[in-house]
């Protein structure tokens, strides 16, 4: 069902947690639908300096959260904002069709966090 990469990120998720003094927080999803994702970012010199997540959701939701934090870390804010759901799915060597929306969620959460950061810094 899941690729080895997905299972790896599910079982050993990177960057789990919260950032106390985050520069941006993005929260998407709905617990009723079984998914709820929060991404915290810390920005330094226009780059994602630190990033953490917390997710209530399926294996794919956790793995995509983990993967997007890896993809975003160190990128400029603009580049991080441009990460698409396909980028996430591809980096995980693919996701089952019904789980593609989970990677959507991860991209949305990161964008929401960046929006939140930008709104505070404009």
């Amino acid at each position: 069902m899941y690729t080895d990469k997905v299972m790896d990120h599910f079982q050993n998720p990177r960057n789990v947690g919260e950032i106390e003094d985050a520069d941006g927080i993005g929260e998407v999803g709905n617990p009723t639908c079984g998914d709820m994702m929060t991404i915290y970012i810390k920005v330094k010199d226009d780059k994602i300096d630190d990033i953490k997540f917390k997710t209530f959701g399926c294996g794919a939701a956790i793995a995509t959260s983990s993967m997007i934090t890896e993809l975003a870390k160190g990128k400029t804010v603009d580049d991080a904002y441009a990460i698409s759901r396909n980028d996430v799915a591809e980096a995980l060597n693919g996701l089952p069709d019904v789980k593609m929306h989970c990677s959507n969620l991860a991209a949305d959460a990161l964008q929401a966090a960046i929006d939140n950061y930008r709104s505070k810094n404009s």
Binding site: M7, F10, T32, G34, K54, C58, I62
Partner: protein, 384 residues
């Protein structure tokens, strides 16, 4: 591996496989033929029919072999309503039936029939009052499952059957999850039709049976060479039939012991989980429940992840979470007993079998505790 998903399927017992083997290679004849190797096959089939009948208190002539629980349900429900459509068009069932029954009813709704889906309340059990109220002079079939596959609750089948009889309405029960697990007697239960499946009782997959009370007429839904009273045509799955017979024989012998043993294991499991894991709850009634089944929900986590983490520790378990289903819909059963979507997402079903041990139960409690902790530590909706 610790296998705790016996409501999904069970391994074939060694004795069952041994009984089957000669019918693949030695007595391989087509039971419709009348030379020796065909007659041997036929004979084995009829012996198996007797064993199936014996387990449920029926006559062998009242048993037809099918390709599983789903086909039994389809043959029974469509067979009765198509045969009796000039008498009425109303069917009564429950909200927590297996898809084999629910989807069949939905299909019939699209074809001119009306269906009442009785509620089951928090306990997961229908109310006889609701049933009585639902009956009209157009009601031609009541179909209510004996034991639910997700939460294990037992419906008051004998009582339903009495009411059906009084009202001259045909009564079918899907007993796929009760046969071989609790006592099932077609006469005590007052049923006209009863579905069962081999692979839930340590028999092979792809074989089942349908009990059809004498003088109950069905319209066939499959057409062909006339096997199984014209209701399941096609060359008979002889080895599967022999396996089903053997599985029934063993189930009968071990029923009493297993009921006690599995009740003990299950209660240990429930006690262990509820006392060790905070914010954990049992789904469905505790008392009217089949011995081996326990269904929990854990606040703040999602069931698919839980099942995957348990799998990582060699434990096979199941969830009613939407995220694990193909259609991303939460379990209709958990919904029917009043669980909020967010709670049904955190559900875990553990169903025990006779090969499980106390040691395994202890391990599963511990592994579940760890997995729930871990998932909560990364959950965005868990805050302690």
């Amino acid at each position: 591996m610790i296998y705790m998903d016996h409501a999904a399927t069970a391994p074939v017992r060694k004795e069952v496989l041994e009984a089957m083997e000669p019918y693949f290679t030695k007595y391989f004849g087509n039971p419709s033929t009348f030379y020796t190797v065909g007659r041997e096959a036929k004979k084995a089939m009829e012996e198996s029919r007797e064993k199936v009948a014996e387990l449920i208190g029926a006559n062998p002539e009242e048993i037809i072999f099918t390709t599983g629980g789903t086909q039994s349900d389809n043959i029974a429900i469509k067979g009765i309503v198509l045969k009796n459509k000039n008498k009425g068009n109303h069917i009564i069932t429950s909200q927590i039936e297996h898809p084999a029954v629910i989807e069949t009813c939905k299909y019939l709704e699209k074809n001119g029939f009306e269906v009442t889906y009785l509620p089951v309340y928090e306990e997961g059990i229908i109310k006889i009052e609701d049933l009585k109220e639902a009956i009209t002079d157009k009601t031609i079939l009541i179909t209510i499952m004996h034991v639910n596959n997700e939460i294990g609750t037992i419906q008051p089948i004998a009582e339903i059957g009495k009411i059906a009889k009084e009202n001259k309405i045909k009564f079918h029960t899907d007993a796929v999850q009760s046969v071989g697990k609790i006592p099932v007697d077609v006469n005590e239960l007052n049923v006209d039709l009863l579905s069962m499946s081999g692979h839930k009782i340590y028999g092979p997959k792809g074989i089942g049976a349908l009990y059809i009370r004498k003088r109950t007429r069905l319209e066939p839904i499959l057409h062909g060479g006339g096997q199984e009273k014209d209701l399941n045509p096609g060359t008979e799955n002889v080895s599967g039939i022999v396996g089903l017979g053997k599985a029934c024989e063993i189930a009968k012998e071990e029923l009493e012991y297993n009921q006690k043993y599995l009740t003990k294991l299950r209660d240990m499991l429930i006690e262990g989980i509820l006392s060790n894991i905070e914010e954990s709850y049992l789904n469905g009634d505790l008392i009217n429940k089949v011995p081996g089944t326990a269904n929990f929900h854990f606040v703040g986590i999602e069931g698919e992840g839980l099942v995957l983490l348990l799998d990582g520790k060699g434990i096979a378990a199941s969830t009613g979470s939407a995220c694990s289903s193909k259609k991303l819909e939460a379990s209709h059963v958990l919904k029917a007993i009043g669980l909020e979507d967010v709670d049904s997402h955190g559900s875990l079903r553990l169903t025990l079998g006779s090969e499980n041990t106390e040691e395994e139960v202890t391990k599963v409690i511990q592994a579940t505790e760890e997995a729930v902790k871990r998932l909560r530590s990364m959950s965005s909706i868990w805050n302690q």
